[in-house]
């Protein structure tokens, strides 16, 4: 009896070790490979033949000094920030409404908002091409071709990532207890005051989490700027794509990618710190 128990115990331990081992191996590939990219970013590039050995910071110098790359980073940060602000402005009223409406309406709205998040971006891009392109609905209605402009990319990105903001906000707004608001009402607070002093401060962590996700996702988005922005819109992700798959200059692509990662991380950290400090001031 005892022998069997130990035996199965050992079998279970072996299984656990196997599962954990497989998972760690997968993650090693997933996490070490991006590190390898950082090494590639330090390599020389030659269009023909074997590149010279050794390491160089030339790729980074090119990214930092070349005005077109600098412009691409500026455009990426500006675009992603705008996407964050607009999706927050759209998601907030939606979430407030979902909080107080009936269960049925809430689940319908939630499905409508989440469903596109999980439908391939190429399909969504097709839809926007139909709507915004020449001879599209907007063009025929007001005579403006929005496709291949910054506005088209903005619309596409907000559409792409709005659901992240909604879900992040819902997770905090849904957690605010009605008792708390009732108590404030009983004590004579106006609805505006309740919003300013209770609902909004309590929603800040969700707003922040949503903003971080939307910002990160926007800086990394490739398909939407590529096909809704056309040749006129130049973002860092598009430059990575071009360098890697059009020019086949992997060291340069890697250098841009590393810079994008650093910029993204820096801005997210700064925003977190700023909001975190602000959140501490607001009386709960």
């Amino acid at each position: 009896m005892k022998g069997t128990a130990t035996h199965t115990g050992m079998k279970a331990t072996a299984t656990r070790a196997g599962i954990l081992g497989a998972a760690v191996l997968l993650y090693a590939i997933g996490l070490v490979a991006p590190l390898a990219v950082m090494v590639t970013s330090l390599r020389h590039y030659s269009a023909l033949g074997v590149p010279p050995p050794g390491l160089t910071v030339g790729n980074f110098i090119e990214v930092v000094t070349e005005p077109s790359y600098r412009g691409a980073f500026g455009a990426t940060v500006a675009m992603s920030s705008t996407v964050v602000v607009i999706s927050a402005l759209l998601a907030y009223p939606l979430c407030l409404y979902m909080r107080r409406t009936s269960r049925r309406v809430r689940s319908i709205l939630l499905i409508v908002v989440i469903a596109p998040l999980l439908v391939s971006v190429v399909v969504r891009t097709l839809g926007w091409q139909l709507l915004l392109g020449p001879a599209g609905i907007i063009d025929r209605a007001i005579g403006v071709t929005v496709l291949y402009t910054n506005a088209a990319v903005l619309i596409g990105l907000v559409h792409l990532f709005l659901a992240h903001m909604v879900l992040a906000l819902m997770s905090v707004l849904g957690g605010i207890k009605d008792d708390l608001l009732d108590a404030a009402r009983t004590l004579g607070a106006s609805e505006a005051r309740i919003f300013r002093r209770i609902v909004f401060p309590l929603s800040l962590p969700g707003l922040l989490a949503g903003s971080v996700v939307v910002f990160g996702a926007s800086t990394g988005a490739l398909i939407t700027p590529l096909f809704l922005g056309g040749a006129r819109v130049d973002l860092a992700s598009v430059e990575i794509y071009r360098a890697a798959l059009v020019l086949f200059n992997w060291p340069l692509a890697s250098a841009i990618a590393v810079c994008l990662l650093v910029v993204n991380y820096g801005i997210v950290q700064a925003a977190e710190r700023l909001l975190h400090r602000r959140a501490a001031w607001v009386p709960a």
């Binding site: 590639t40 009223p93 979902m98 439908v119 391939s120 399909v123 926007w128 096909f227 990618a257 977190e272």
Partner: protein, 276 residues
């Protein structure tokens, strides 16, 4: 009372905006004309037949489906296993573990795609579905892990202890008590990882090769050409498959679980809100 009416109007306008591009694609696909027009000029379903008869689309659809099924099964099994392994550990170890296994979420997908491309090229590995599978597992396993972690955290540990006290073997306890307890999480994880893999285009495009092109990668190749009705029809098929899986997923699992914590720091902060 606050003006619920105004909020409602804004909400439905936002929902309309969100649904619009998909509705347009599906509507425009049902045409019998030889060109793309919206609103569709003449109703017809012939482009669906044509799209599904095209070897390019059919092979890509088959590859996408195989890849998505394999990804969802392996990612969910791995995630279930990892969370189950972590359960015995201290809360601190558990948090660290979940944070570690969430790390790929912080790496932009473009970077994962680019680095996979470089890694496999430097190893001289021929392009194959296996490479796509590894890429998709890296993309999806963190999500599976989050869902399974949430599912396991709602499981009552005393049930397993009771089974153990009554002399049930570990395996039997796992199969008869633990697994049924996290069934909703498993369904949610399978659905979400399936969709993430089925929808991915970035990794698929970077790792694509002749014969190894998923359906989104094929559509990607057609995007810079003028729109054709068969492209819309195959896209409508994608929408149908995705929406069906989403409806199943939402029926059983709370997708909102995923979005609470994003990074390790948020993971520590978010739950504090629950107790005002």
């Amino acid at each position: 009372m606050r003006p619920v009416g105004a909020l409602g109007v804004v909400s439905w306008v936002v929902a309309f905006f969100v649904a619009l591009p998909l509705v347009v694609v599906v509507a425009a696909a049902f045409t019998s004309a030889n060109y793309v027009a919206f609103p569709p000029v003449a109703f017809g379903t012939r482009w669906f037949g044509q799209a599904l008869a095209s070897p390019e689309f059919r092979e890509a659809l088959a590859l996408s489906l195989e890849l998505a099924v394999a990804t969802s099964l392996i990612a969910t099994i791995l995630a279930t296993g990892v969370v189950w392994c972590l359960r015995g550990a201290s809360p601190r170890t558990q948090r660290t573990g979940v944070a570690f296994f969430s790390l790929p979420l912080m790496v932009p997908v473009v970077l994962i795609a680019l680095s996979s491309l470089q890694l496999w090229a430097s190893l001289g590995a021929p392009r194959s579905m296996a490479l796509l599978l590894v890429g998709h597992l890296i993309l999806t396993t963190p999500f599976a892990l989050r869902i399974m972690n949430a599912a396991f955290s709602m499981l009552d540990p005393t049930l397993e202890m009771a089974a153990h006290t009554l002399g049930t073997t570990q395996w039997r306890t796992f199969l008869r008590i633990t697994l049924p307890g996290v069934k909703a999480g498993i369904t949610g994880s399978l659905a979400l990882t399936f969709l993430l893999s089925f929808d991915d285009v970035v990794v698929a495009v970077f790792l694509a090769a002749p014969g190894v092109r998923t359906l989104p990668a094929v559509i990607f190749n057609h995007l810079d050409q003028s729109l054709s009705p068969d492209l819309l029809a195959i896209s409508a098929v994608i929408i149908a498959i995705s929406v069906a899986v989403i409806l199943v997923a939402l029926r059983v699992a709370d997708i909102g679980m995923l979005y609470k914590p994003v990074g390790a720091r948020d993971a520590l902060r978010a739950p504090a809100l629950e107790t005002p």
